[in-house]
């Protein structure tokens, strides 16, 4: 089943690959070219800053978690997983007041229902969001690339079979699919990640396949084939690098989408388990406290918002930068 029989080939969000001959494609595949374009594009730059900042926070949190066992967190902030010594539950952000007390400077964003510092939990939530976002995208990208490339390159029954399977996966609303998948295999974060990754496979598959189909007929691929270059080499040395730009754009956007889905899953109780500080789970826990301590529900949401905005802006910027059609 195609999404639209009339437009099935260009309904990917970018689709900015029709313009320009192969020489332009060549010019637009390189990392250096990308970086240069990104530097020149304001939105892409802002996106890069946000994503870079979030990545930095995530790396910091991961380092502190894996290597130092929250040593930095405990020295500078509060351990995001355990209670601080003095439990002050549901404090509002500094400067505000609620029935549980007055916000204090040590907890700039206030505390949660266990008296844990919301700032440090939000910061450490970045680690999970980013990890999950990147890995899920990597799974989708890897799976989609292989399936799309093989499918597009060989065509025929291989193409038919693979495309029917991915279409079927695509036909089940992905949150439902991931929930069913996690029920079957496991409800922790790892399976959330794998599940979200699997739902992203059709997206990349479609992208890669349509490019492979168009590039397959290009002279230089024909030439390579005539020269006896192996199919696998043609696919991985020639075709896939030529799809760099749209895939990069899609992957960037997909990271944001994955973060959103995983947050939703955690909110429903599929994913990170307490006391792990994940944004979705924090929001889920905050539901019972919306009345006395509404700010508890606000900050994790804002963190998600900013991170995903970062990836979306970067994706948009990359698309503008790498797609000459839109340039004025």
């Amino acid at each position: 089943m195609s999404i639209n029989s009339a437009t099935s080939d260009d309904d990917t969000p970018d689709g900015g690959d029709e313009s320009g001959g192969p020489d332009e494609v060549e010019a637009r595949v390189g990392l250096r070219y990308t970086l240069k374009q990104v530097r020149q594009d304001t939105t892409a730059r802002i996106g890069t800053y946000i994503v870079g900042f979030m990545t930095f926070v995530a790396v910091f949190a991961a380092f502190d978690y894996y290597v130092l066992d929250y040593a930095i967190a405990e020295a500078v902030l509060y351990n995001p997983e355990t209670d601080p010594q003095n439990v002050r539950r549901l404090l509002p952000p500094v400067g505000m007041e609620n029935q549980f007390g007055q916000g204090v400077l040590e907890h700039p964003l206030g505390t949660d229902h266990r008296g844990r510092d919301l700032l440090s939990r939000t910061i450490y939530g970045t680690r999970i969001a980013m990890t999950v976002g990147f890995l899920a995208t990597a799974i989708g990208l890897g799976g989609g690339t292989v399936i799309g490339a093989v499918s597009g390159y060989y065509g025929g029954w291989i193409d038919d079979v693979l495309q029917r399977v991915t279409e079927t996966i695509y036909a089940i609303p992905f949150l439902v699919l991931v929930i069913a998948f996690m029920t079957a295999f496991g409800r922790d974060l790892t399976f959330a990640m794998i599940g979200v990754g699997i739902t992203a496979i059709p997206v990349f598959n479609r992208l890669i396949r349509s490019r492979v189909v168009s590039i397959r007929e290009e002279d230089y691929v024909e030439a390579a084939r005539a020269a006896g270059v192996k199919d696998r080499n043609i696919i991985f040395r020639h075709i896939i690098p030529n799809s760099f730009a749209p895939v990069l754009v899609q992957a960037t956007l997909q990271v944001g989408v994955s973060i959103l889905i995983v947050a939703g899953l955690s909110f429903l109780g599929f994913g990170a388990q307490p006391p792990t500080p994940s944004w979705g789970q924090m929001l889920s826990a905050s539901r019972g406290y919306m009345l006395p301590a509404p700010t508890f529900s606000i900050f994790p949401g804002i963190a998600i918002l900013i991170t995903v905005i970062g990836f979306n802006i970067l994706g948009d910027g990359l698309q503008d930068a790498l797609d000459p059609r839109i340039n004025n």
Binding site: A224, H238, N242, N328
Partner: protein, 373 residues
């Protein structure tokens, strides 16, 4: 000679982009008289289409007409004057945007675009689109407009126009669509039709048919045409007078026969050499060397010097304006090349430049690149 229908004087249209100002049309002047077909010739990017858009004041942002005058039947389509502070502002008699829309566009000056495949709206019927334009520009009610539309479709040679009236553009071939566009232009009964490379996208036989049809209809309706093209053979076939454009400027202006048989500008010669001509046999066609420089930063001196086989050092320095080089009593034949004595800037003494080496512009656009490394 009678008062021209359209008079363009020193028209300048520029595009203000992030990379700088693109001087797409840089001071061109020409006239169109009643009943004549005036050619506007040049390579892609010479500014022909911008010039025609300027005439209708339809230059898209970030483009803007920055100077010059356009007069049509005594009305000022465009004209600036300096106010007390020396700032340029539109003259009072310049038509407002609303007047342009209501009185000029379609009604007085119609246009036929280059790409028949894209110019028709894919989601409306051909007849509907034609009828809408007729309704707007001829104040007919829908039924009359429809009748007129069907007549016009028949006129431009579309078989069974009654049934094809309700078909969609994608059901028409390219040539048929171009006929529809021509029908649109003619149906509005304008005094001037601007045909912007209307046959470029068509194959040669269709092109021939269309040109023939246009010639006939032009005689029948006595409409004036500005015929924009890069194809000298088309020019030879239908034009009365020709303006050759290069990089935003008109570099030669002559009656069609004069242009072909008494070519005065090396660029025109190069254009002629690059196309097959029924009147001459040449051993081989010679494409013009190099590509046209970008209008954003045109070369100093003569803009063609970087590709001109006859270029000399002086061409780098002197920027020639077109001058009438015709003999007394003959029709005007202007060219902007310093090799003519009329310019008298020391061309003959000046040492030649090697344009092949100095061309310096990548020719890669048309080549097939290899894979990325």
């Amino acid at each position: 000679m009678s008062e021209p229908l359209l008079s363009v004087r020193d028209l300048k249209t520029q595009f203000f982009t992030e990379d700088g100002t693109v001087r797409a049309v840089d001071g061109i002047s020409f006239d169109v008289h009643e009943g004549e077909i005036v050619g506007l010739v040049g390579e892609s990017g010479a500014g022909k289409s911008v010039a025609t858009s300027s005439i209708l004041r339809l230059v898209d942002s970030p483009g803007e007409i920055v100077g010059g005058e356009i007069e049509f039947k005594g009305e000022t389509i465009f004209g600036l004057e300096a106010d007390d502070d020396g700032e340029l502002r539109p003259r009072d008699e310049m038509l407002t945007e609303n007047e342009m829309r209501k009185r000029i566009r379609g009604r007085e000056i119609a246009i036929i675009f280059q790409d028949p495949m894209e110019s028709l709206n894919p989601v409306f019927t051909v007849g509907g689109q034609l009828r809408e334009f007729i309704e707007i520009n001829r104040d007919l009610d829908p039924d009359e407009a429809k009748e007129e539309a069907i007549d016009m479709l028949r006129e431009v040679g579309i078989p069974a126009p009654e049934s094809r009236y309700d078909e969609y553009p994608h059901q028409f071939s390219g040539g048929m669509r171009q006929r529809v566009l021509i029908a649109m232009a003619l149906a509005c009964q304008p005094d001037l039709i601007i045909a912007d490379e209307p046959t470029t996208a068509l194959d040669v036989t269709v092109e021939g048919e269309i040109l023939e049809m246009v010639t006939e209809l032009q005689e029948k309706y006595d409409t004036s045409f500005i015929w924009v093209t890069h194809d000298m053979s088309v020019v030879a076939e239908i034009c009365d007078r020709v303006n050759v454009m290069y990089l935003g400027e008109i570099i030669e202006q002559a009656e069609v026969d004069d242009l072909f048989y008494d070519t005065k500008h090396p660029y025109t010669s190069a254009l002629l050499d690059s196309m097959p001509r029924p009147d001459r046999t040449v051993d081989e066609l010679r494409p013009i060397e190099g590509v046209m420089p970008e209008a954003i930063d045109p070369p100093a001196g003569c803009r063609f010097h970087s590709r001109c086989p006859e270029a000399r050092e002086v061409c780098r320095e002197v920027h020639p304006e077109p001058r009438d080089l015709s003999e007394e009593g003959e029709p005007r034949h202007a060219a902007a090349c310093v090799k003519h004595d009329a310019f008298d800037v020391g061309y003959d003494e000046s040492p030649p430049i090697d344009t092949r080496a100095g061309g310096g512009f990548s020719a890669g656009l048309t080549e097939t690149g290899g894979e990325a490394e």
